[in-house]
């Protein structure tokens, strides 16, 4: 519990983490969502994507948003990124309202979204070019970053020549290039195979430990959330909303197969099982019941019990 308090205020770097040379100056900034609601027009009327979500994220904190599809976790990410605007409520970064996308909040997408017509290096330099940085400074910075993600050897390759994991590492390097205060990650490892995902989780933990950026990481993978986060925010559906927050006070670096990570993952998985089942039910026939699920479900099925 002491570790919990320590994590909360200033997540400590475990002493056995490898020392990273961090090519960055700006540390993370705090984020706050104040009673944020997002409604969009839909064929059947107005649809509430996110209902009254409030969330405080400390500077330098690593937060995972965890929930089934339709729980509004990517919506929260888009709101912080400035790619969407709240219908009600406020989104604050470092105390000031978010007004559109900005280079202080970088996003890593599930499909990496590297520009196919640019080499890996030019991709990493793109945000620096937008900012008008001279070519020599860009070159130095992109080399630094590509070395950080272990891709320097491939700097003149085009994205299609790289594997999915390499592309995600490149996307992380590009996101870090503009030295953002906040790193927003939208299921960045979801499309990767299990081994690659685990390696990248380790790399992300290492990079985060060195940079102290605020990270908001969206995932539907419980184990991934517990392995990475200081705090896991559980989300539910219809409408998308925040259900519960769970502080993860396990020492770093963590391993995905760590017994404590597994135990906490199982506890969280049980907690969101009914939400997952709700989604599964909506996406299948009405009569379908999630195999092996206990509790929840159709109350009519239990009418005979206890009479």
């Amino acid at each position: 519990m002491f570790a919990s308090a320590k994590n909360w205020l200033a997540p400590a770097v475990a002493s056995d983490l490898p020392v990273v040379v961090v090519p960055s100056a700006r540390a993370g900034s705090a984020i706050a969502l104040e009673d944020v609601t997002l409604r969009v027009a839909a064929p059947e009327g107005e649809l509430e994507i996110l209902a009254g979500a409030s969330l405080r994220i400390a500077a330098g904190e690593f937060v995972c948003l965890l929930g089934p599809s339709g729980s509004g976790k990517s919506t929260i990410l888009n709101l912080i990124a400035g790619l969407a605007r709240p219908s009600a409520g406020r989104v604050l970064e470092a105390g000031s309202p978010v007004d559109g996308p900005g280079p202080d909040r970088a996003v890593v997408f599930q499909d990496a979204a590297l520009f196919p017509w640019l080499t890996l290096r030019r991709n990493v330099e793109f945000p620096l070019e937008l900012r008008g940085l001279p070519a020599r400074a860009r070159a130095a910075r992109s080399e630094e970053l590509l070395r950080l993600v272990h891709l320097w050897r491939f700097h003149d390759r085009y994205p299609h020549e790289l594997s999915g994991g390499m592309r995600q590492r490149g996307a992380i390097a590009r996101a870090l290039a503009g030295d953002p205060a906040v790193l927003l990650m939208d299921e960045p490892f979801a499309a990767l195979d299990a081994q690659t995902r685990e390696i990248l989780q380790g790399e992300l933990e290492r990079i985060w430990s060195g940079t102290r950026k605020t990270v908001v990481f969206v995932t539907h993978n419980v184990r991934e959330a517990v392995r990475l986060a200081d705090r896991v925010v559980l989300m539910g559906t219809r409408p998308g909303r925040i259900l519960h927050e769970e502080t993860v006070d396990l020492p770093r670096p963590r391993a995905a197969n760590d017994a404590r990570v597994a135990a906490l993952s199982n506890a969280i998985a049980r907690r969101i099982a009914s939400e997952v089942e709700k989604v599964a039910r909506e996406e299948a026939d009405d009569a379908w019941v999630v195999p092996g699920s206990r509790g929840g479900g159709d109350p009519r099925r239990h009418l005979g019990r206890g009479i």
């Binding site: 990124a81 997408f109 017509w117 503009g178």
Partner: protein, 240 residues
């Protein structure tokens, strides 16, 4: 290719009619055309028209395609007109163009530009629409907006598709130009074809056809094949 020429030679030997000249006669006609300058002059005239009309078509078609992809107002007002005009062979506009501009370069250029710009616009619209949203969102989070976003991200991302349209536009331009030159006399390869017909000179007619085929192949190899290779190297796919 060589086999086809041999078959052609054999067939014209068997037919033994001035209506079906062999490769030797056609080759002689080409040589004569080059010597007295008529064929070269016509080739230069047609190529200059083609390039001028094509460049104008690209300058009109690409922005029109972008506007169609990005503005609902433009899509709903101009969109049906573009689709409607696109289904009309552009040579149908020649009579109107002649009434407007007389027998001038303007008339023939109108036909070429109309023929080439519409496929370019349609292809640009489609490929801009199908740029993966995450590419543009990523650029926006890095601070790219407005015209800069369009020029540095959206258009490069749409380039393979736009190039496909540019290629179709080129063949449309060539066809429109030849049809236009055949119909009214003012230099160019089309007119030379017409001259060959008037003189009953089948060798000359075929010589011009060979030159037109050569023009098409050369532009294909010099322009589009190169662009395709560049696209394939970067995107890892063949351009359309």
């Amino acid at each position: 290719m060589a086999i086809l020429v041999v078959i052609w030679a054999a067939a014209s030997e068997i037919a033994r009619t001035p209506l079906a000249p062999g490769p030797v006669a056609v080759g002689a006609a080409i040589a004569a055309g080059v010597r007295d300058g008529t064929l070269l002059r016509a080739l230069v005239t047609s190529t200059a028209r083609l390039v001028a009309g094509y460049v104008v078509a690209l300058l009109l078609g690409v922005p029109l395609g972008i506007a169609l992809a990005r503005s609902t107002l433009v899509k709903q007002t101009v969109g049906p007109i573009v689709l409607g005009l696109g289904s009309v062979p552009s040579i149908c506009w020649l009579p109107l163009a002649i009434l407007w501009f007389g027998l001038s370069e303007w008339a023939i250029q109108l036909v070429v530009v109309l023929g080439a710009s519409l496929p370019v616009a349609v292809a640009t619209e489609n490929s801009v629409k199908h740029v993966p949203p995450s590419i543009e969102r990523a650029a926006r989070t890095m601070g790219a907006r407005g015209a800069r976003l369009m020029i540095t991200v959206t258009l490069p991302a749409a380039l393979p598709g736009i190039l496909g349209g540019a290629r179709v536009g080129w063949t449309f331009a060539l066809r429109s130009l030849m049809a236009g030159e055949l119909l009214f006399v003012s230099g160019g390869l089309g007119q030379l074809l017409e001259t060959g017909r008037d003189l009953g000179d089948t060798a000359l007619v075929l010589a011009v056809v060979v030159v037109i085929v050569g023009l098409g192949r050369a532009s294909e190899l010099l322009l589009f094949a190169r662009a395709d290779r560049a696209i394939a190297r970067r995107w890892g796919v063949e351009g359309t």
